[in-house]
């Protein structure tokens, strides 16, 4: 015992206490510095995460917000009966025989007349080049109007027509005078004309409603491309997903949660659901192609096929959310129902299910939001096609070819014109707005109706 005392004495006596408690020694300082570094790393990580989100959203907004404005030219077009209705009896069939080639000269003349009236002239600019300011889509719009209103032939009607893609790009900063010198599709003289027309109020840049309603347009006419078909196709698919996956998911969850015995079949079902939740989305696309299109012969690029594939993808999400909601209902409710004389099925359907409804609906909305953003499986069932007509009304409309919002974005990024990049970003903004809305509804539902037992 004296040895130990001696050893501790010697340890204490080996050196007097170095420094006071209030001065940190080297090792403690190192540990504190390491702690501060660790904390800093954590803060940097959080900052990187938040910055990534901000950077992503800013980049998308910067690129896409300009797609919501579009340049239009206002021209008064004289609908010359000599060119449009040679027989003079306003017969729709005869009028329909005049193709858009017949309407284009009318536009050329209208613009030339306007320029003459205002006294605008740019040297080096021919009439044909001046007419190129108007989008190539405009003759088709004109023709559609005339076919709908045949009595307007012979009158002078004022139209608000799309300006061509390059002119639109000029007012959004994509095209400059320097780049116009090298560009095959536009010349600096055309830009100068556009400026003069803008000064006169003939050319305006305003909010672009047609972005939401117009169908897709060809590669050379980005100014006319719109999301109408894509939004409708996505809406149809969400409808199919809702109608199919909600009953199936809730039914499967009720079975698994309330009625399933502990046997091999139940284990198999649960393992399958957990696996399906982790399968990559492209494999569901392959399944859709092999089973729904090749085996069952459903039409390609149809909302019904997309809806079926997305249903299979959303089912695990809904099942997991519904099971959590059912588990959250306390057993006392079930016992009380049984105690009053209800059968098991009655207690589930009359008591447990209504109480779990808010959680089920929240899970469904979140599942739908995830399905809305899926692209890969839709690409494989043929939705990469260019669709110009709106799908019909349900139920036949489900079998018409259509597009979907995320697929339209992908489609547009594959095209060369930078105006399409702007439109793709604009479409993503629309998609994100829908998603934010759906998630907000889910959160509000949850806040309002959720009960804490």
């Amino acid at each position: 015992m004296s040895d130990t005392i001696a050893s501790t004495d010697s340890a204490a006596a080996a050196g007097p206490r170095k420094g006071s408690l209030l001065v940190l020694d080297k090792r403690t300082r190192k540990r504190n510095a390491s702690e501060a570094r660790f904390r800093l790393m954590g803060q940097i990580a959080v900052a990187i995460g938040v910055l990534a989100l901000v950077g992503l959203l800013t980049s998308i907004l910067m690129n896409g917000l300009s797609s919501f404005r579009q340049t239009y030219i206002q021209v008064s077009v004289y609908l010359d009966p000599a060119k449009l209705d040679k027989n003079g009896n306003r017969n729709l069939e005869d009028i329909a025989k005049v193709t858009t080639f017949g309407y284009a000269p009318l536009l050329k003349k209208a613009l030339a007349d306007k320029m003459a009236k205002e006294g605008i002239s740019i040297e080096g600019l021919s009439e044909k080049d001046a007419a190129a300011l108007i989008s190539k889509e405009a003759p088709a719009d004109l023709r559609r109007y005339v076919l709908a209103h045949p009595t307007s032939i012979g009158k002078t009607v004022s139209f608000n027509l799309l300006a061509s893609g390059r002119i639109d790009g000029y007012y959004k900063g994509r095209v400059t005078m320097e780049s116009a010198k090298l560009d095959r599709n536009v010349s600096p003289q055309q830009l100068m004309l556009a400026d003069k027309l803008k000064a006169d109020g003939v050319l305006t840049t305003r909010f672009n409603w047609e972005f939401f309603t117009a169908p897709d347009a060809s590669d050379t006419r980005p100014e006319a491309a719109g999301l109408g078909v894509a939004i409708l196709g996505s809406a149809y698919m969400m409808l199919v997903v809702l109608v199919l996956s909600l009953p199936l998911g809730v039914a499967a969850s009720i079975y698994l949660e309330e009625f399933a015995p502990q046997n091999a079949l139940t284990d198999l079902i649960e393992v399958n659901i957990a696996n399906l939740a982790a399968v990559p989305s492209i494999v569901f696309g392959i399944l859709g192609l092999a089973v729904f299109i090749n085996f069952a012969g459903l039409p390609q690029s149809a909302p019904i096929v997309g809806g079926l594939v997305l249903t299979l993808m959303t089912l695990p999400t809904i099942i997991i959310a519904t099971r959590a909601a059912l588990k959250a209902v306390p057993p006392s409710i079930r016992d009380a129902a049984l105690g009053v004389g209800a059968s098991k099925m009655q207690s589930v359907f009359h008591h447990v299910l209504p109480l779990a409804m808010p959680g089920i609906l929240t899970g469904t909305i979140i599942g739908l939001a995830q399905a809305l953003g899926e692209t890969a499986p839709l690409l494989l069932i043929g939705m990469v096609a260019f669709v110009r007509e709106y799908p019909g009304a349900p139920p036949e409309g489900f079998f018409d070819p259509a597009s979907a919002l995320p697929v339209q974005v992908y489609n547009w990024t594959q095209r060369g014109d930078p105006a399409f990049v702007e439109r793709a970003s604009g479409a993503i903004i629309v998609l994100l707005v829908f998603l934010v809305l759906m998630n907000l509804i889910a959160i509000i539902l949850r806040r309002r109706f959720e009960r804490r037992w």
């Binding site: 390491s34 570094r37 660790f38 904390r39 954590g42 803060q43 990580a45 959080v46 990187i48 995460g49 938040v50 990534a52 989100l53 992503l56 980049s59 998308i60 009953p247 199936l248 998911g249 039914a251 499967a252 079975y255 009625f259 399933a260 079902i269 399958n272 696996n275 399906l276 982790a278 399968v279 990559p280 492209i282 494999v283 696309g285 392959i286 399944l287 092999a290 089973v291 085996f295 069952a296 012969g297 089912l315 695990p316 099925m345 939001a369 809305l372 953003g373 890969a376 690409l379 494989l380 043929g382 995320p406 992908y410 990024t413 990049v421 970003s425 998609l431 994100l432 998603l435 998630n439």
Partner: protein, 486 residues
Amino acid sequence: MSVGILILIVLGLALLGYFVGRQRALSKAANEGRKLHSLPSYYGQFLALFTAVPALILLAAWLFVQPMLIESHVSGLIPDSAIPEGGARSLVMSDVRRIADGLDALMEQGGLGEEDLTRMRADLTNIRSRLAEVGIALGSNVPVEVFDAAKTYRSEKNTGSLLMTIAVLGLSLAAGGWAFMRIRPELRARNNSETFVKALLLGSSLVAILTTVGIVGSLLFETFHFFQIYPAKDFFFSTVWNPQFRGGSDLGILPLLWGTFYVSFVALVVAVPIGLMIAIYLSEYAGRALRNLAKPAIEVLAGIPTIVYGLFALITVGPFLRDWIAQPMGLGTSSSSVLTAGLVMGIMLIPFVSSLSDDIINAVPQAMRDGSYGLGATQSETIRQVILPAALPGVVGAILLAASRAIGETMIVVLGAGAAARLGLNPFDAMTTVTVKIVSQLTGDTEFASPETLVAFALGLTLFVFTLGLNVLALYIVRKYREQYE
């Protein structure tokens, strides 16, 4: 009669059956002076279920089986002589289908009757121009056998449709009638209809198994076809990926696997440290204000669709990396590269890793932390030496799940990593992955039965096996090494 109307009729019959059954039960009880076993509505439910469910199941099965039967029968009718040089039976069959549709259109618009159609012959009438009048375009003149096959197809389809309508309605009425006969006051209607409903619930759960069976079955089936026309050894061991439109392609999976793993590796290098540190900081260090602000922000990253990330990679990250890093250093000139896709994929995986790690770290009991603090450790020492080792199996499981997600990701790599299949080490080069090639092979113009298209199924099967394996491995590791506290 169209399928939609048939379904509506069956449902209408079921609704009618509900009221009829209920009424019968009540009237029988009144006549016989006895009390009903169950509530009256259950007798109605009993009758309605029997009327609707067997008929709808028969309808679904018929719609599934009928096209297969008709196709195989009509396909057998076409002699080999009618198949053009270098063509395939399937192309002739699609012509048959279009001619059949055209004949329907002719009947509707051209005012032709059934008699005229049966008398129409390919060698006497110019079928091609007749069909062009109603909007069906054909590539060449119609041989006699093909036209006869089209007529047979059409008539079989119509007969099948008629038989289906009769069978479905008949079953609906028969089952409903049988159930009607059984309605008596002693009938345990509630028990019977509840058993029926329980069977329906079990059926819905089986959809999950059916989906997996469908996935595995379709992948295996087509992969088997693929390995019949392309040697499996070349597929798994060749290092060249070069599909040719005309055949003679080299379809080796190794460059694609390399690209997949490289991109996923970069993504994990970005996501795991950042995600883990975010989870640690938010659960151990951050105050409530920061947690309430940062956690939802990170969750938002999880909810953004991958096409948005893809576009971000394409228009912002790619050009940025190329202009500021790759070109000045002379490492590459492409804006689609492994680094672009890996970086963006890492950003996408950050919330995934972060939320999984958060759950795991919170599961470590407070007693261990308190013990460590009691011994004088700083917070970071506690985390590094006590909590992380305790949470390690869970964290490894989270990393494996994130890897599985990264391997299966499509849109980011389609838009960000390019389409060049190569085995390289330069992260600024474009390298493609398995998922990109699945998309490009299945959305191209090649014929379905060619090896260039079928290879996509083989690729899909490989991908499925990999992700499944990773998930199973993650689950196994977590289960085996998880510490059981309490």
